[in-house]
Symmetry: C2
DNA sequence: ATTATCTATAGATCTATAGATAATGC
DNA sequence: ATTATCTATAGATCTATAGATAATGC
């Protein structure tokens, strides 16, 4: 589905193939530390090539990052699927979420992968490039977890994506990965019975004075020594 | 604490004072839709002024955004404090969190405010400008909620900040604000007894093959039609 | 002969400044 | 006279391209 070369798929020269891999490796390293902010020039430099070569293989920066994002997304889902078929899926999923939080704490690219995937899955605006055929697999995962009673039944795939993305942001912001993972994990479970917080998509949530409170500012005017 | 003018605090001319407010109003509007990506040129234009004037009042873009971020952060904390002194704090806090999620779904600036505040509070690197004397108030809030048994006792201020920030990211990514808020809310509660997931900051979380799994990519090489 | 690669640079996008000009207020 | 404001532009930062040069493989 992701064609990178011209349609008739000419087999790529030996050196070109080597360089292509060097580019991807270099890009992936930079993606880990810089995420989408990686620079094409740096990719080229790290791969020991000129920028022109990078652009020959990937016509735009986006084409390159789509490759990186999709690969990571695929790897993550595969791991989740493996967890679900374990003898103790609840434990395995817990391990999966925790290790994700930990990884995302030091891998900007992974964090942004979740973000792009989420946004794409939620059908939001421009970045549809990152939408993949992974949706079906995610859907199966969520449903499976719900049927096992591990996850609240009103949680959509988009919400799961969004929560993973938020978890990444939370550890980036300085939260303790282990605690953050636990909060998400517990929060996703079926509401048991106690508080039994209802959550019908829209409606309440405006008990305490709605939008207005957070207006512009600066009425106190000038500085005070 | 946040001096914007030269030290001796000369009282600002009438037109200057008017323009300053126009700048802040314009900037706040743009901050809502664009967050930190707002452009100084647009701020000026929207305020009906030249860029030079904007820069006269705020020597850097950062100086301007610090103002916006701090004001929003203050407003949010004030609301949270109000919620905590209600007759039914649990309900009020719930309303607070839900309305935050809802607001953040359409206010990029508010979302980024949490992010900057979190990162700053977690003592992370460069953006210390955004660190404020709000920390004490946040600390009091969290402790208060913990003493009331509403929030798990091992949750630090940094974790709370981080979770709010993650919540914002999650709604940005397309999650249902109401559901996301609920997940966070439930997840922050004391673990009751059931699953009783321990969470000692470091340690487990690596049950399922640690870092390695998410290596570079591209062994499958060229494209497939 | 064809396919890849390189270097240098165009072009787009922003922040921030300089120097000339205009508005306030004693 | 002093303080503010304006316009035009320098400077930094990136993506992406053009045109000349080098490496493959029939």
């Amino acid at each position: 589905m992701v064609l990178t070369q011209s349609s008739p798929t000419r087999p790529l020269r030996a050196d070109a193939r080597r360089n292509r891999e060097a580019i991807i490796t270099a890009a992936d390293d930079l993606f880990r530390t810089q995420g989408m902010a990686l620079q094409m020039d740096e990719v080229a430099q790290r791969a020991g090539l000129g920028v022109g070569t990078v652009y020959r293989h990937f016509p735009t920066k986006e084409a390159l990052t789509v490759e990186l994002v999709n690969h990571r997304a695929e790897a993550v889902i595969t791991r989740a699927e493996q967890a679900m078929v374990t003898r103790a899926p609840a434990e395995a999923i817990r391990g999966f979420i925790h290790s994700m939080a930990k990884l995302m704490a030091s891998d900007v690219g992974l964090r942004e992968t979740f973000q792009l995937q989420s946004v794409a899955d939620a059908q939001i605006d421009e970045c549809a490039y990152y939408r993949q055929d992974l949706h079906a697999r995610k859907f199966a995962l969520v449903r499976q977890a719900q049927e096992a009673g591990m996850v609240r039944p009103d949680l959509a795939v988009e919400d799961f994506d969004a929560l993973m993305c938020g978890m990444g942001q939370a550890v980036l912001a300085g939260g303790n990965p282990s605690l953050i993972a636990d909060v998400i994990l517990v929060g996703m479970r079926v509401p048991s019975a106690e508080g039994a917080a209802d959550c019908t998509a829209e409606g309440q949530a405006a008990e305490l004075g709605s939008e207005s409170e957070l207006a512009p500012c600066a009425e106190d005017g000038d500085a005070s020594a």
